[in-house]
Symmetry: C2
Subunit: 136 residues, 2 copies
């Protein structure tokens, strides 16, 4: 209802509809970090143990895997099951909530695939036109 919007909403566009934030930042604060989506993607393939996850994700440190999987568990996206064996065995799997996220990740994958080349070319052109820029 603010009177500051002078622009005309493009008709037919799926305008993100809320005045300011929407919940986008909430989503990004949750999965926008370096490892969460990769862990979720791996868990989308099935149940995984800790070391299996670490081997699968490639590059993730023990510490970051622990932190990532803890946060996902806290948010209810991943469930953690401990079997009191020796040596210990811990299994991780997506919850229903976690599975619902894979639809969104699918959409992100498709958008990336569809536009990555256009973006790459835009970057090349921009970099050529701005040889000395610290933006990168």
């Amino acid at each position: 209802m603010s009177a500051t919007h002078t622009g005309v909403t493009t008709p037919g566009e799926p305008i993100v509809s809320c005045a300011d934030d929407c919940g986008i930042r909430e989503v990004l604060d949750r999965i926008g970090d370096k490892w969460s989506v990769l862990v979720v993607v791996e868990l989308a393939h099935g149940v995984r143990r800790f070391r299996e996850l670490q081997r699968a994700v490639d590059g993730i440190s023990q510490r970051m895997l622990t932190l990532t999987v803890r946060r996902l568990e806290r948010d209810g996206l991943v469930s953690r099951t401990v079997y009191p064996t020796v040596p210990p065995q811990v299994e991780y799997k997506l919850t229903e909530l976690g599975h619902s996220l894979t639809h969104l990740l699918q959409a992100m994958t498709e958008w990336s695939a569809a536009h990555r080349e256009a973006i790459a070319e835009s970057r090349r052109r921009w970099d050529a036109e701005h040889p000395d820029s610290d933006i990168r």
Copy 2:
């Protein structure tokens, strides 16, 4: 093709399909920062000048708005038009590529709206069960 996947893919799930990354991290590296999506959302409403953007986004510093809008321009999501008037006038608008992103942001908004309460409750329960935790 790796033989390390022992888990069975849940049938009917929109599995993110690629072995490892998919392009998800590319997308997040582009819009996963603190301000990009907010700027894109604001520009989805129409053409905006620099100060208009800064007032609309709320909380963004001059420096970060400059950086954010430069990167978006470099990636071809936003176009920048300079009118050599005095005082200077610069207009920003989404490109076709930028508009295509709004569909994805719409999906993120809907997912957030649909599950934010479930996530919030999961957090409350987790925090209650783990009173002393540095995970947060």
